[in-house]
Subunit: 356 residues, 2 copies
């Protein structure tokens, strides 16, 4: 690849944390990728440098008007010590989709992938070894121009940091309790919900806190217009198996197009299971539930891959799904996806990219 | 005041820019106020330090999940060289309202006002002298914890920077052309529109750019639910004089409660002009327009104070308001508010706070 990514190695490497207590997003590797954008010269100076604080003017636009987007993906270590990425080109594409929504400059997707490969290769000892652990990859882009007018910034930084993370299901996979949120909303048609925009997450914190206080692990978001249709669960896409068919909300502007979601849909169709990307109201879900037709429910996302839902609390209804047990299909999807990600199962889809 | 704000003075003061070419939000004074928050000890170490870049961990939550809020206000120099603030306690209250929406810690409003007074007093030579110019004050708070989990940060920074700004109407007040936006939305009930949250502004940039490309100066936002009711104009509240009455949208969750808006309503009621804080649809506005009853339209906000609207472009309709001339009431409101702000008119409302 002809991209001149310069590398400045650190002269004091950190001690690596014990892989049994990594948690999520707490530890960061020795280096990071950084690239700058200015209106005059475009993207320039792609470089790998020691992980260190960024100097930001107090008037940098990101701190005022929230022009910031990000991605989330993982590198997995196989038992024969290869390092694999899962559909990284999709993250590159989605980063550009998010950038366009916030009037930010697009990046060259090839350069992005090259930056990932170069950085991960340099940090390969940081990819933890235990099954279930991984190296979480966080690319993000934000506005740096020191200016207080409300308009798109004329300068940006793209940064990629890496964080070794523990197994999501360290204590074993366990179905979660979800609160159906009817006061706060995550996103609305015409807004930024379909993009991975930082402000979406700030807007979601209050509902999550309220749900925790009520004893739930996460919230299920309803649409902002009618407060009726199911959208997402926490920061995951959501699926319901009803009477042998799998339902998931369609991508109509307020829902993030998850890469795990897309992969799950692929697998299901491959297995001959009907998938309906159609609007589904809580009322209809509840009717299916009372009829005993709601067989399984799960969220999907890079962090958890698949997360079974055991309970839905909706107004006064306490809906227990599949006796709070992991569903058969949920388990099969989880097994297949993680099997492919860790190189244990053949990948007939071309999803895996090896880091040399 | 018993708040121990420490002051570290700069040893190299900047040259002050020529007050005729200040523009907005480009120049910053020699010092800034900074205060830190941690979950263990709360707010601590309030200090005034030289204006300088902030060091931010690349994983600082603000760069990822947009936990950031801000305020905007001004200090005005009177002809007899006093320095006045306009209803600063309202900004302190609104900052706390915004903080609550994003699960951020509240600040002591008295300390906030003391910080303002101390900083502005130190920087008083930066308050420009020409009528119409002012010292723009930008308090902002953001999440600093280095962590990638989606939850509220456990540490924050509150910063106040000051920027001398030029007269908004340097070339004379001129009615603006506004595009009624029907694709993108700014905010929705259940979201963050009523708070001064950074993500709201990022979400608004695309529509603004599109409007510029079509030859308009700003957008008029409609409600996100029915795409029908008028909400705000750019980053301003909006008012319409229809048949002798003044209409402005009510604060029902998606609209920012502007301090200028509140002041305008006060003045109008004081002057015996009926004010209707009621939902107003574009259809109804258009009907009033075709009947010749739409007499004036204007936006309100700290930056412009009052901004007359000369044209509304709504689908295929080109609505010319008051022959694109500044309305009588618009002019009177502008004159009265700026007169009070610059200490030229008596302030019967207790709005003015002098900085000693
Ligand atoms: C809001 C939201 N929905 C869904 C997802 C799932 O996307 P993916 O499967 O690409 O991780 C994410 C990201 O993890 C998200 O932030
Ligand atoms: C979205 C929005 N609406 C309205 C206003 C007006 O508020 P204020 O009059 O307090 O400046 C502002 C801030 O200026 C704003 O950002």
């Amino acid at each position: 690849m002809p991209y001149p990514i310069t590398i400045t190695q650190t002269d004091r490497k950190k001690e690596k944390p014990d892989s049994s207590c990594l948690g999520f997003g707490r530890y960061f590797t020795d280096h990071m990728f950084v690239m700058d954008y200015s209106a005059e010269i475009g993207w320039h100076d792609p470089r790998i440098v020691p992980y260190a604080p960024l100097a930001l003017d107090p008037a940098a636009l990101v701190l005022h008007y929230g022009q910031a987007i990000f991605e989330g993906m993982k590198a997995y270590r196989t038992s024969d010590d290869r390092i694999l990425l899962f559909r990284p080109e999709k993250n590159a594409q989605r980063l550009n989709l998010s950038a366009a929504r916030l009037s930010m400059p697009s990046i060259d997707e090839e350069l992005f992938l090259e930056a990932l490969r170069t950085l991960i290769s340099l940090e390969k000892d940081w990819v933890p070894r235990e099954r279930g652990t991984s190296l979480y990859i966080r690319p993000f882009m934000f506005a740096t121009e020191p200016y207080l007018g409300v308009r798109a910034s004329e300068s940006y930084k793209l940064v990629i940091v890496l964080s070794p993370v523990g197994a999501y299901y360290a204590g074993g996979m366990k179905p979660v309790k979800i609160h159906v949120e009817s006061r706060y909303v995550r996103a609305v048609r015409g807004g930024t919900g379909f993009a991975k925009v930082s402000g979406n997450y700030a807007a979601s914190l209050k509902a999550q806190e309220d749900a925790h206080a009520k004893g739930y692990e996460q919230v299920l978001w309803l649409d902002a217009i009618e407060n009726k249709y199911i959208e997402e669960v926490g920061s995951m896409n959501v699926f319901f198996k009803i009477n042998g068919e799998v339902w998931t909300p369609p991508l109509h502007g307020s829902i993030l197009g998850g890469i795990t979601r897309d992969s799950v849909i692929h697998l299901l169709r491959d297995w001959g299971i009907p998938v309906r990307e159609e609007k589904l109201s809580m009322e209809d879900l509840y009717v299916a539930y009372t009829r005993g037709e709601l067989e399984e429910a799960f969220g999907t996302g890079t962090a958890a891959v698949v997360s079974p839902i055991g309970v839905l609390g909706w107004n006064d209804h306490h809906m227990v799904i599949n006796h709070e047990q992991i569903g058969e299909l949920t388990a099969k999807l989880y097994g297949t996806l993680t099997g492919i990600q860790y190189g244990e199962i053949a990948d007939p889809y071309g999803w895996i990219v090896e880091v040399e």
